[in-house]
């Protein structure tokens, strides 16, 4: 492999962005920020980007952003969770088998639980693919993957992306299913490191590796753009510089 994990994830996320749509990520989202900018530079020149806490954000507060999402204008949102489960729920609140006695608490918040219903597609990503991050059931549901049919919902999860694999969300079943595996990982690796049933119903393809064009643009153009615009500049300097 001649790319690091951050670069791989940024490339994989960038491929989810569609031209002409509004795509966004929240606070503390270095990798999605890079992915959004990469997509705009490569295949989505007319994508509108909203990167919170950066110059790539037309809004000063979260209110107009939430209202935009509620109007159904947000095409894609990148979310992350400390845990993700097979039902597409993610947890940004707390870790503990006993809900009243959390062993760790996280920022949580309402935003994710709202945006998950509003963005037409949400891609949940996680920088760790282990049995403690991909679990059968999250300790706390911050955002719900599925909802009853009579509940107002504008959009759904579309994928979960980790450094080892892509999962697609099957809306009808309300389940994540293994979609593709990033080389050089194997099905055994995925099975050993995933805490839920992979929902296999046939052979699983390999994820197309980052192309030299994607990596070149990420390292030369996007890294520079992030540094110059003060968008996670330190992170970009360190992480988008190859192996």
């Amino acid at each position: 492999m001649d790319y690091n994990e951050a670069e791989l994830l940024a490339v994989l996320l960038s491929r989810e962005v569609r031209d002409g749509e509004i795509s966004a990520c929240g606070a503390l989202s270095q990798i999605p920020a890079a992915g959004l900018l990469l997509a705009q530079a490569l295949h989505a020149p007319n994508a509108e980007l909203i990167i919170l806490n950066s110059v790539f954000n037309p809004f000063h507060t979260s209110k107009p952003f939430h209202f935009l999402a509620q109007r159904g204008e947000l095409g894609l949102f990148f979310a992350s969770g400390i845990q993700i489960d097979r039902h597409g729920n993610y947890n940004l609140h707390q870790l503990s088998p006993d809900r009243e006695k959390p062993i760790a608490r996280f920022p949580g918040g309402y935003g994710g639980g709202l945006i998950y219903y509003c963005a037409r597609r949400t891609v949940v990503f996680r920088t760790e693919h282990t049995r403690r991050s991909l679990v059968e059931k999250v300790d706390y549901i911050s955002a719900a993957g599925s909802s009853p049919p009579d509940v107002l919902r504008l959009g759904n999860p579309s994928k979960a992306i980790t450094p080892k694999a892509n999962f697609r969300f099957e809306k009808d079943e309300g389940l994540l299913r293994l979609d593709t595996i990033h080389p050089p990982w194997t099905l055994d690796d995925i099975q050993a490191n995933t805490g839920f049933d992979l929902g296999l119903n046939g052979p699983v393809k390999a994820t197309p590796a980052p192309t030299s064009e994607e990596l070149h643009t990420l390292r030369q153009v996007i890294r520079r753009k992030m540094i110059d615009s003060g968008t996670y500049a330190e992170w970009a300097r360190k992480s988008l510089a190859g192996v």
Partner: protein, 178 residues
């Protein structure tokens, strides 16, 4: 907004809803079938927040487009502490959000009133203090100790600033008396 409740999209199926009795799932009164969450309006008795600038009439400049404007509108009483007090502040001079005095009951001059958090455009968060706070909040004993040191045993705001705001920060904040 002044309305008793608002519908919101999302949250159904989360554990957040289980802990809130001010949010319920309700049926759309127009189509009679679609469900969504309805949140009861917040109507705080008192709101207290810190601003960059305020004047003697109670006009406030928050220095950024802050959600505190909504907070001020929603609350029955509003108390504002400010880095600077000026003689007269108009909406034009406000940098960012402006809260007209009609919403504000009291203003107090409190330089470094946001410490250890930051005050945008004036000072950044005190990272060293924040780290202490995070460590202290991991158990009840150390948090009580934190409260004793930084809250209960502090005589007043001046005493707090004198003892806990880094010395090299204290240059810019001064009341402009007109």
């Amino acid at each position: 907004m002044g309305v008793p409740y608002v519908p919101i999209i999302g949250l159904v199926g989360t554990d957040i809803l289980k802990r809130r009795d001010d949010m319920v799932i309700a049926v759309d009164p127009f189509d009679g079938k679609t469900k969504s969450v309805v949140a009861k309006a917040l109507r705080p008795d008192v709101a207290v927040f810190h601003a960059q600038m305020a004047d003697r009439q109670g006009n406030v400049s928050c220095g950024y487009h802050a959600e505190v404007v909504m907070l001020a509108e929603a609350s029955r009483h509003v108390i504002v502490t400010a880095e600077r007090i000026v003689d007269r502040l108009t909406e034009k001079e406000a940098t960012g959000a402006f809260i007209p005095s009609i919403h504000v009951d009291s203003v107090a001059h409190a330089p470094f009133g946001a410490h250890p958090a930051g005050c945008q455009g004036v000072y950044s968060p005190d990272k060293i203090h924040m780290r202490q706070y995070v460590i202290a909040s991991q158990d009840d004993t150390s948090f009580s100790e934190y409260l004793r040191t930084y809250v209960h045993d502090v005589r007043d705001h001046d005493d707090y600033v004198e003892r806990f705001v880094p010395l090299d920060w204290r240059q810019p904040a001064q009341a402009v008396v007109g």
